[in-house]
């Protein structure tokens, strides 16, 4: 017994050892950020320059006065803060807070960048952030679709295809009836496509990526086919007029200056995102349902030996994921553009996938990644008004580059479910 009991202590040591290399990497990253702010941003700025941020998005009733400050002073403060964080991390380490601090440093870096890029001019910060939130919606919802699928063990690169089909279906049904039925039909369409993905991967044990590719090609084909055959033609134009969910200002909250217009003056998709993220977090990590869902994604055989129906649970995960992807798909038509156009999802399903991985298969992480990617998206649209000549295409690349960096393990390993992508064979010799 003495022997057995002494081992756990050693494994604790191991964790310290592991976190040591991560601690140093993180510390260095923080210091690098500080260095960039100091040497690139501050050095390249005139000491007397002012940065002006507009704090009211265009067209908002809730007004807040502009915020003007000395560029170099603020940058110096931010650089020092990052440097302190880096030094503390290197010497002592933030332990469990590391990820939070990383997020904080990232925010400080982005803020410094904006400060620097708009010094001597003005930037509508509120507008930028408001658009960020909007752009984050399909990415976050798509990433949560991915989480539901992948936590239960099915790889889903077909989010794009599911979104596309849902967008099409919702348009037609919303045009024929009303927005709510349109949304519901989109969700159901997502579920149906996901069911096909489930049949191919779970029943026929097709490789998950290939099945996803089948669905993506099929979705592109069928929506473009039906679109050019019917709803793009004038005689069927009435099928492509679904309308849009209106913007709803939340009483009181939307009146808060700066924050109100950014967060509380949107249509229902933004609010749905805010509600679904905590809801899914609780469901996945704190309920019986979530425990079982995760167990079939981690070790289906173990789940099976405890009487959990692996096949059924996996179907459930995939179909719920499909419904979420379908919901995300309806955003494009009913929440954003008010009509269906061919390929209107424009690869957002794939960025959702990236957001899911970036967010470490956690809804909160996924929203964080969605917001980050949404920010780059919204910034790239404004790239031309920045002082700094960074082509919008390069800002547009940021989400993809960030994902590659995460996957390459620079910021730490992501915890993909262990049995993800593997078919479950009940009886095998």
């Amino acid at each position: 017994m003495a022997v057995a009991n002494s081992i756990p202590m050693e494994s604790k040591k191991v964790h310290k050892h592991q976190s040591k290399s991560r601690r140093i990497v993180m510390g260095i990253i923080f210091l690098l950020v500080a260095a960039v702010i100091w040497f690139v941003f501050i050095n390249g700025t005139d000491a007397s320059a002012l940065t002006t941020f507009n704090m009211t998005p265009g067209g908002s009733a809730t007004v807040m006065s502009d915020w003007a400050f000395s560029t170099t002073k603020v940058l110096s403060i931010l650089a020092v803060l990052c440097a302190v964080a880096g030094a503390y991390q290197l010497i002592l380490g933030f332990q469990n807070l590391t990820n939070g601090i990383l997020g904080l440093v990232a925010v400080m870096f982005i803020f410094s960048f904006l400060t620097w890029a708009s010094s001597g001019g003005s930037l509508n910060l509120a507008g930028l952030l408001r658009v960020t939130v909007v752009r984050a919606v399909p990415l976050t919802l798509g990433a949560m679709a991915g989480i539901l699928c992948e936590r239960s063990g099915t790889v889903n690169i077909a989010i794009e295809g599911m979104m596309l089909i849902a967008a099409f279906v919702s348009t037609v049904f919303a045009s024929l009836t009303n927005l709510w039925i349109g949304m519901l039909s989109g969700i159901l369409a997502g579920a149906l496509v996901a069911y096909i993905h489930g049949v191919l991967t779970i029943k026929y044990k097709v490789d998950h990526t290939i099945s996803g590719t089948v669905i993506n090609i099929f979705a592109t084909g069928i929506t473009s086919f039906l679109s050019s055959k019917f709803i793009q033609k004038t005689e069927f134009q009435y099928l492509n007029e679904p309308g849009m969910f209106p913007q709803v200002d939340i009483p009181i909250l939307s009146k808060i200056p700066f924050v109100g217009p950014i967060l509380f003056s949107h249509n229902l998709y933004v609010y749905a995102m805010f509600l679904l993220v905590p809801f899914l977090t609780v469901m996945v990590f704190s309920t019986r349902w979530g425990l079982r869902l995760r167990s079939v994604g981690e070790h289906p055989k173990a789940a099976d030996t405890l009487g959990i129906n692996v096949i059924k649970t996996r179907y459930m995960g995939v179909i719920l994921g499909g419904m979420m992807a379908g919901f995300a798909g309806t955003y494009f038509t009913l929440g954003s553009s008010g009509r269906f156009d061919e390929l209107l999802t424009a690869g957002r399903g794939f960025i959702s996938l990236a957001a899911m991985i970036f967010g470490n298969y956690h809804p909160v992480g996924a929203m964080g990644a969605g917001l980050l990617f949404g920010f780059f998206d919204s910034l790239s649209a404004k790239a031309s008004i920045l002082k700094v000549p960074i082509p919008s295409d390069f800002l547009g690349m940021m989400p993809y580059l960030a994902t590659i960096i995460v996957l390459a393990g620079v910021v730490g390993k992501s915890n993909a479910p262990a049995a993800e992508g593997k078919a479950y064979e009940k009886e095998s010799l």
């Binding site: 017994m1 022997v3 057995a4 009991n5 081992i7 756990p8 494994s11 604790k12 191991v14 964790h15 050892h17 592991q18 290399s21 704190s286 309920t287 019986r288 349902w289 425990l291 079982r292 995760r294 167990s295 981690e298 070790h299 055989k301 173990a302 789940a303 099976d304 030996t305 405890l306 009487g307 959990i308 915890n415 262990a418 009940k426 009886e427 010799l429």
Partner: protein, 520 residues
């Protein structure tokens, strides 16, 4: 009164294999019933049927005299049956509590996990049966012995009466095995009943109340430890008289072939799996490395064969330093490697036999000229080796995947032995093989030794180590605790060493006298 559990005429066919052939088995309340048989005899299949993981083609199951049908683990759990699987069914990223309550969750407000309630129940079970498990630990952080106890609690948590334990000792040190047997006794004393699956005679003799032997999917006999004699049991298990000892001449060690000094190797978790190991292996001797699985043997072998670069220390093969060499240059020096996991490392299952036979010589003449492969030569050499090493295969173009385990291992042996080698590193060379194949491989290995080849044998099977080795090193947590001549080694001493305890000289002498009697 009807027995607690009764299996009647259980039959199960897999494509091409009759895994269980009309097996009958009874289990009385409060007994430990050992199911003895060699690898592939059908023990695990039978238990998977009882636990509902496989469905039988024929046969009935009775619990307390009532006929029941078990279509899945849920039915088995309902019938009071629980199973500790050979490969633990635990989810590393879940806590002990989560693992145990999965499927039988304690919930509040109609679906939210009540981890505290479950943990309390686990604590209580753990105390009752003296299992000593922390409910809040993550399973990935627990040592193997503790993981096994988590598995046992998983069953008790479901209030099972019948416990199936499938080869529970395979991953434990002899001392941990004793601990396990104690736990099993406590369980039985408290009214539980256990089916204990194993292929180790010693364990059966030690802890079973009744023994049933199965071979080739059939029950061949039933007995109790008091009446049984090991030799007879062994014969029943294998189907013929087995020579429990391989005849072996005394080694005539020559020059040093492999020299290892102060080697340290990190594993995937960045721990020092090998932590300052030094030894020499000489021509014409078998140097055995004993130890419980997971004490650094795998990493040691991977470092020696160039698959895992060591962080510190030095490796020399035939006087040449190979510490940082790639696998290819090490094999080219005249070293051969029988890997621990033949299907994962040793073979390309989808490739034909002939191509597997040239897996590390395809780039040499005559198998290739320049970059062009010479398929005629490869086929010709394949045919010869198949004949010479008695590989049972439909042809040399058959994919290796369709060969039996024993023949797959022969392909590896044929490939490695057909080259002029001076050093053989054999890791678990007989794992999972039937007795016939084991004998064959042992014979071949000793032949190589007698030809003057230096052999490093790594095995977790103590019997194999004792039978083949001339010198035995015991690895424990990455260190070699002691190196013994085979004459001085006994199971007990090796067992203590494997558990990390270095016996004093007095103790050694005492044990040697007492324990020479027990075979296998």
């Amino acid at each position: 009164m009807a027995p607690l559990l009764e299996l009647k005429g259980i039959t199960k066919r897999f494509p091409g294999v009759l895994a269980n052939d009309h097996i009958d088995l009874t289990l009385e309340k409060g007994e430990i019933h050992a199911l003895l048989g060699e690898n592939g005899a059908g023990k695990t299949t039978l238990m998977n049927i009882l636990y509902g993981l496989y469905s039988p083609d024929e046969g009935d199951i009775f619990v307390n005299g009532q006929k029941i049908t078990i279509q899945g683990p849920t039915d088995a759990i309902k019938a009071g049956i629980g199973m500790v699987h050979q490969h633990f069914m635990l989810i590393p990223v879940f806590t002990v509590t989560e693992n145990i309550m999965l499927g039988e969750e304690a919930v509040k407000f109609g679906g939210f996990l009540d981890r505290k309630k479950a943990a309390a129940k686990i604590k209580q079970i753990s105390d009752t049966y003296e299992l000593n498990v922390n409910p809040n630990a993550y399973v990935r952080d627990l040592p193997v012995g503790n993981q096994q106890r988590v598995e046992i609690i998983k069953i008790l948590f479901r209030e099972a009466e019948i416990l199936i334990m499938d080869e529970p000792s395979a991953v434990l040190t002899p001392q941990e095995v004793d601990e396990l047997f104690k736990i099993m006794r406590i369980l039985v004393d408290q009214g539980k009943s256990i089916i204990f699956i194993t292929h180790k005679l010693r364990e059966v003799m030690e802890c079973a109340d009744r023994i049933t032997v199965i071979r080739g999917g059939k029950v061949v006999g039933s007995t109790t430890p008091k009446e049984a004699d090991t030799k007879k049991l062994a014969a029943m298990m294998v189907g013929r008289e087995v020579e429990l000892k391989v005849k072996k001449t005394k080694a005539k060690p020559g020059n040093t072939v492999l020299h290892v000094e102060n080697l340290r190797v990190l594993n995937a978790q960045e721990q020092f799996a090998v932590d300052g190991v030094s030894f020499d292996v000489k021509e014409g001797e078998v140097f055995g490395i004993a130890g419980v699985q997971g004490n650094g043997q795998t990493e040691l072998v991977r470092a020696l064969t160039g698959l895992l670069p060591p962080t510190e220390g030095e490796i020399e093969i035939l006087g040449q330093e190979t510490t940082k060499e790639r696998p290819r240059s090490i094999t080219e020096l005249g070293s051969a490697h029988i890997p621990e996991d033949r299907q994962k490392d040793g073979l390309i299952l989808a490739f034909p036999v002939s191509e597997n036979l040239v897996l590390n010589s395809y780039f040499h003449e005559p198998f290739s000229k320049g970059i062009r492969l010479q398929f005629d030569e490869i086929a010709e050499s394949g045919k010869q080796l198949v004949e010479k090493f008695d590989i049972r295969t439909p042809g040399i173009n058959t994919p290796v995947s369709s060969l039996s385990g024993g023949n797959q291992q022969k392909v590896i042996v044929a490939r490695e032995f057909s080259r002029p080698i001076k050093l053989l590193i054999a890791s678990q060379p007989t794992r999972g093989l039937d007795v016939g194949s084991i004998e064959y491989i042992h014979k071949r290995v000793l032949e190589k030794r007698n030809e003057g080849c230096a052999i490093l044998l790594v095995s977790t099977e103590l019997d194999e180590i004792i039978q083949l080795s001339d010198r035995i090193a015991v690895m424990y947590r990455g260190k070699i605790l002691d190196v013994l001549d085979v004459e001085d080694a006994s199971k007990e001493i090796l067992g203590l060493l494997m558990a990390g305890i270095k016996p004093s000289d007095e103790m050694k002498q005492k044990i040697t006298k007492e324990e020479q009697i027990i075979l296998t």
